[in-house]
Amino acid sequence: MSCSRQSYWKIFICAAFLAGSLEQTASKADEPGDSTPADVSASSAAEIVETMRTFCYDCHTGSEAEGGIKLDFLSEAGTPSVAIESNVELIEKIILVLKEQQMPPSDADPLPLEDRLNTIDRVERMLGAFDCGSVSRPGRVTMRRLNRAEYDNTIRDLTGLKLELAVDFPSDDVGNGFDNIGDVLTLPPILMEKYLNAAHSIATEVFQSKESIRRVFPIQFENVQSLEEAVEIAKSNANSISRRVFRRPATQQELDRMLQLMSDAWNQGAEPDTIYQTLLTALLTSPHFLYRVEQDDPRDFVDGSRALNDFELASRLSYFLWSSMPDERLLNLASDGQLHTAKQLAEEAVRMLHDPKAKALGDNFLGQWLQLRQLETLRPDPVQFPFVDDALRSAMRRETELLFETIVSENRSILELLDANYTFLNERLAKHYGIDGVVGNQFRRMQQPGLRRGVLMHGSVLTLTSNPTRTSPVKRGKWVLDNLLGEPPPPPPPNVPALEESGETLGTLRQQMEQHRSNPNCAVCHTKMDALGFGLENFDAVGRWREKDGREIIEPAGELPGGSQFSGPVDLIQLLVNSKKEDFARCVTKKLLTYALGRGLEVYDRCTVNTIVTSLVEDDYRIETLVRGIVISPQFTQQDLGR
């Protein structure tokens, strides 16, 4: 199939009109119409489908569909509204490229301005209408295995020992950007073997001191007088430890089996210590410990979903905010049946955010969301950047974590991740940034750190979005779209090499890139990615400030699609905060919800995301509002019936 490539430039001519007109249509959508919602929906759907078939279908169909975006469903059986409702994610992508004037490409038949605006308007009204309607459901999380961080933290909180055995486990695979996704966390045989060995080591370590034995088995079991007494004590101890290991009370059946295990050991002639070690090893190897089991009794389900019980909620909270087991308070609230109310869940979430264990959110959520974990393995060119070592890498990472931790502990606005006019430096990092007056290894808060604002000007992010020998404006721009604005650009079409790789072009990096953007296939996305990336060119591949790249003076000014201009990095940040704060809030909400749930988001999660974003906007984007919104959402507190 071929798509003609003639009227490429027309697209940009109408860009200026579009920006203004979109605002008008947004308010228009609120006006009540004469027809019933169902009528509107049906006729709108038909028109949307008609427009897409006319302007998109030619290139986006069949196995050769451009960019892998297939619209074949538009001509499949069923009513137009069904076609749209069952392909909402795709429709959302289409709306985004329509809004951003990325499609149709300039070499295809142009989509008239009016059709474009009407389509966007209709689709948004349709999506808005059924967001919280019939398709709303809590979704289902696949049973999650503890990942490495969760395993270590749980053992720490269970035994009081900081053993960190999980470093020897195979690394957990990542899905949807995180390593706590139920579907992706598999348990290969080698890991089972490691779990067994680890359980054995833990049982051995616990018995090294009286104090840790008592922490695990609170009732003294040495030197008992009679067999009857020994059995009673064993019962109590088994009860107490299994409640903490399984994160719920054990059933009578389970308790009986634990006692049987202990009595078998006794019959083998084992000493009391060995008997208790055997029990502990077994519990720490049980699927009820290694997985976060949410058992399904079909009787609990009403209309295909059920409310999680208090103990399940306690675990959801603790693994979300602490990457660890519930503490005694959560377990007690659960025992008393007090945890499941929205008020209590929100209250506990806030309490937990102020606990030192909430540092896990920085380690695991932030570290993966912003990809800070990559810093550990990045090796910038040792010739140009011989000074980059572990100390600098970890200082870079710490700076970003400290900003996040501060936002959490002071309940500040998440927008400060973008534009904080303060940061955290130690001597090493301050020197790297060319800032004087910071002495020692200790990090301290600093107001107005030069021209730096927010994470986009942190050494961490600037380094991990660079190639080993040089900056990559494309990577930086893509990183912003992926991780901050939630508008991931589609991957480049096959067989088109990365833009900046040509040996034939001359001039500055920017000139080279502009040359490449004359290829309309690339321009669609690169116009935006490159503008964002070039706005940050004043920072080199390891995040130092610079005025020149080689001999060329850096021109940090630029223009985002839609015509907004910026004069340099600080101005760019300001522009993002002013015009994109809701997109950013939505992006953070989606990432944190994904992390909290341990699954990728689906169409039916839109309603919850919208609700949270709305409350964020109303509360000056404060992070506690975000976390509260998540923990009281149906997604977090309920479960769909499993298939």
């Binding site: 892998g68 696949t142 049973m143 486990f169 195979p170 690394s171 957990d172 695979d173 990542v174 899905g175 949807n176 390593d179 579907d183 992706v184 966390l185 598999t186 348990l187 290969p188 045989p189 080698i190 089972m192 073997e193 067994l196 060995n197 080591s201 089996r257 078998d264 050991a265 083998q268 002639g269 084992a270 055997t278 077994a282 049980s286 699927p287 290694l290 997985y291 399904d296 009794d297 570290g367 993966q368 800070l372 974990r373 990559q374 550990e376 393995t377 090796r379 190639n467 080993p468 020998t469 992926d482 991957p491 096959p494 067989n495 990365a498 790789e501 040509s502 040996g503 699954r599 990728g600």
Partner: protein
């Protein structure tokens, strides 16, 4: 030399070496009580698969002539000491590594398809699905003949993060071994842990007192947790039960090994190797240690099947030791720039040098009338052909070893393009005495391997 593999040294040295190691795996500590594996009359055939990312610079890889007596091209030069044990296979293809309607994501596909020959389902998380990899097909058929049904090795230590490749979960780009369509097998990256897993148990069991009681207790523990899992099964959904199946397979594998016993005589008769300290900073050293571990495992018949990733798909690390400061992936989009091609060639040479190190080691270990290398089949290659074009035909594939004398090595063989790489896998499985109707998209066996 610290890491040399000198055959036939005393049992004492081994035990001394093991004394350095930390807490011994509990699992192995009990197993000497049980019966041992019968010793094989003829050395078994081993097989391994080594993955390198981002394709290679083919003009410096492909020999000019076919058949015997070909000249080793630049990238393969370091293999000259083992040239007679080498078969260069040109023209093989992984069709399922292509988009086939799934759009971009060639790097993720190149790893997941490498040993499975299966089109991976494009998903970031939900319902991951690839295919069973050839090593696991073999492991499931003949793995029970050795203590470890297979070994999965790698070198990428850092924790995973973020998005890997265009809508594919990182599970696809970080693993080449899949024990089922839904279970990628994690890799061991720490040579110390591999070593301890392989050898510590055998020695410990010699000194363990009260081993019998221990074994009984351990059996009770395994029974207890299997019972937990079985009672849970009916209460879970289908997806949750897939997870629990993995758990139960893991327990079964352990039960098998506990019942099997460790052929410890084999270990102390043939091996002297210091316990590795851990993960070395230097990439080359790390690769060589992992290669040593694979050779040790084969030599001691701890396993017959292994896989190893020299790096993850799409890896972008630089290679300053060979003067390459740019990232590998970044360079692989070379657009025929001679400078970039030169650098890619150097990275390719570097990787092949490590392979050569391993193969030479295997060639030096005698097994009856042949060498360990003779008795093995080591496949080395990439799931992409040219990193710039991201194509999946005419893949760079080497086969080292002669599969116990069943492969006429020392040749360059060219097949018709589009011949499935899986046909090679079928031929290898036959030589492992594993008979299955197909692997991935195989259409038959690869003709002409025996000469």
């Amino acid at each position: 030399m610290a890491n040399s593999l000198t055959p036939r040294l005393s049992r004492r040295t081994v035990l001394r070496g093991l004394g350095v190691s930390m807490a011994l795996p509990w699992l192995e500590a009990t197993s000497a009580v049980a019966g041992s594996l019968p010793a094989a009359a003829v050395p078994p055939t081993r097989m391994a698969f080594i993955f390198v990312p981002n394709g290679v610079h083919l003009p410096a890889w492909t020999p000019q002539t076919e058949g015997y007596g070909f000249e080793l091209p630049r990238i393969l030069k370091s293999l000259s000491p083992v040239k007679n044990n080498l078969t260069v296979l040109s023209g093989l293809t992984h069709d399922k590594g292509r988009a086939n309607g799934d759009g971009p994501g060639d790097h993720a596909r190149s790893a997941s398809v490498f040993l499975t020959g299966a089109q991976p389902r494009k998903t970031e998380g939900e319902n991951i699905r690839s295919g069973i990899s050839v090593d696991q097909v073999a492991a499931q058929a003949i793995g029970h003949y050795s203590r470890f049904s297979s070994l999965e090795l790698g070198v990428d230590e850092g924790r995973n993060t973020g998005n890997c490749d265009s809508g594919y979960s990182c599970a696809y780009s970080h693993n080449i071994s899949w024990s089922s369509e839904t279970t990628p097998l994690g890799k061991e990256v720490n040579p110390r842990l591999v070593f301890e897993r392989l050898f510590a148990g055998g020695a410990k069991s010699q000194v363990e007192s009260g081993a019998k009681q221990r074994q009984a207790l351990n059996k009770s523990i395994l029974d207890f947790v299997s019972e937990d899992a079985k009672r849970l099964q009916p209460k879970l959904s289908r997806n949750d039960n897939l997870k629990l199946d993995e758990y139960l397979s893991g327990v079964r594998e352990i039960e098998r090994r506990v019942g099997l016993g460790v052929p410890s005589a084999k270990i102390d008769a043939s091996v002297d190797y210091p316990v590795p300290a851990g993960i070395p900073k230097d990439y080359r050293e790390h690769l060589r240690l992992m290669c040593d571990m694979m050779v040790l495992a084969f030599q001691t018949e701890s396993t017959r099947i292994a896989t190893m990733m020299f790096a993850r798909a799409g890896d972008n690390k630089n290679y300053p030791s060979v003067g390459v400061r740019e990232g590998h992936h970044e360079l692989s989009h070379h657009r025929d720039d001679p400078d970039k091609l030169e650098k890619i060639t150097r990275i390719n040479e570097f990787h092949v040098q490590q392979l050569s190190y391993m193969l030479q080691k295997m060639a030096s270990i005698e097994e009856g009338e042949r060498s360990l290398l003779d008795n093995s089949m080591i496949v080395y290659g990439s799931g992409l052909s040219d990193g710039n074009r991201h194509n999946n035909e005419n893949l760079p594939i080497l086969l080292a070893g002669s599969g116990g004398g069943s492969i006429a090595a020392g040749r360059h063989v060219r097949y018709d393009t589009e011949t499935p790489l899986c046909n090679l896998f079928m031929s290898m499985l036959q030589r492992m005495d594993v008979h299955v109707p197909f692997v991935g998209d195989s259409t038959g066996c690869l003709p002409g391997l025996s000469g």
